[in-house]
Symmetry: C2
Subunit: 307 residues, 2 copies
Amino acid sequence: MRFELTTLGTGAALPARGRYPTAQLLNVGERLYLIDCGEGTQERLRTVGANFNRISRVLISHLHGDHYLGLMGLISSMHLMGRRTELHVYGPPELGDIVHMQLKASGTWLRYPLHLHHTRPESGAEVFTDDRVQVTALALKHRIPCTGFVFREHPRPRPLLRDQVHRIPHFQRNAVKAGEDLHLEDGTVVPNAELTQDPPAQRAYAYCSDTAYDPGLVPYLRGVDLLYHEATFTEQLSARARETMHATGRQAGLIAREAGVGTLLLGHFSSRYKSEEPLLREAREVFPNTLAASEGALFPVGPRSMV
Amino acid sequence: MRFELTTLGTGAALPARGRYPTAQLLNVGERLYLIDCGEGTQERLRTVGANFNRISRVLISHLHGDHYLGLMGLISSMHLMGRRTELHVYGPPELGDIVHMQLKASGTWLRYPLHLHHTRPESGAEVFTDDRVQVTALALKHRIPCTGFVFREHPRPRPLLRDQVHRIPHFQRNAVKAGEDLHLEDGTVVPNAELTQDPPAQRAYAYCSDTAYDPGLVPYLRGVDLLYHEATFTEQLSARARETMHATGRQAGLIAREAGVGTLLLGHFSSRYKSEEPLLREAREVFPNTLAASEGALFPVGPRSMV
């Protein structure tokens, strides 16, 4: 099943240097999730050829403009393009008021159901579960309430051991794949462990933007294949990072190392950096398997996402 | 004195085909006015090399997203770029609530004074007067309250007739240029008409987007050098134009002809038109001196703005 991330915008608050404000598109088994939606996101989606009427859910981390100002335009364009299927938007409580006030002012009656859900920045709290993933929240440390997200795919069925398949009646195979022991007609019980092997690990993607360095996140990031962590500044500006509640490249690396993630992905680069090299360099010093996001780049989530 | 218009976006509600949502930059004697501000306007301003901290006033015609969704991002970027000079924004009353709600949600305390002024869609009502122009409103006919704008430069001084200059004492020359008769010490009164000639006409630019065809606008558009009038559809879709309260290319031409403007400029092209040619063609059938706006194009306001 496909599980991959497209980074649409990698800039910080001030758009510049060809970087766009934050937005990411996550594809899990052809279901599309949009994570943050800075100004111009609908144009970025067109650029990467995404059919944005296929987006089922939009998750907004917080209400700094570079993370949500493209949402109204996207909602409106979906309407104009004839969308009929419901759209779920997750974000801080004020987001609902902001969206409804603007729909009202523009006299727009959407042709599709729009559901606005409140998020709480409380690590581990469930945001939603659908047929592809379970999404839980991360309490990020920022100047205003800010929620990160962990997307974890559902457990996959346990593969049957080839040389044991003949022992399992057809009608019981799904139960055994789901982990149950096999109860035969003669009363024998065959433990599941004799019949199946462990399935591939559940893949997971975690999104941390914007946040100060916070080791409190580590327990919630363990086992994550791909961790996106903001890296607004280099260590040279660590005082500025603390003051504005952002992270440095090195701090992102430390979080990735502590959590033992598969791959670290950096983004949210301050417009003062012409190139993301210095940020990448200092993250790699503590966590070598680090990549830099770029506009339109694709990152598979799972054991494949290696440098 | 420079008086010129840059069209930054010429698309209609649904951005497509390389067209951006509506925004225009008017430069009158190096004072910059932004007229409407669709999503991504700040990026367009960068593209044309405009220093947007020099924009003193922003005028929003109405609250359909393609005319104002770029405003919050612009306000925020001005703040991040260290703006200290005040910014005046003119728009429908709800715009103030929309802006303030979002500033509050983002925890932003602007470093510069932001003044939000309510407009009324009442033709002839003054919007503001500054040292360059007087701006008055146009009551456009649209699905929600919508205000157009006429920018008229102040009367220019009456040039002194070269062969009469010697008769006018230095300290009285400004008064004569302003139109006063000359009072000499011996009691003689020289009528102004003997000393000056008519100054060049006051140049004017009128902005009509979005609007249904409305001949009621004509009296307010007389004497205008450059008229921007929306042309969302061709005549073939005149029923759709009526229904959505937009105009056709031909209707824009009829308004320009009735008002006897200098040049007609078309924009707000529906995304169904790959090229603006059919819209331009039908406007030119009734008003030959018609141009089509395009992204980043510059149009002088005045007798020079000829096809």
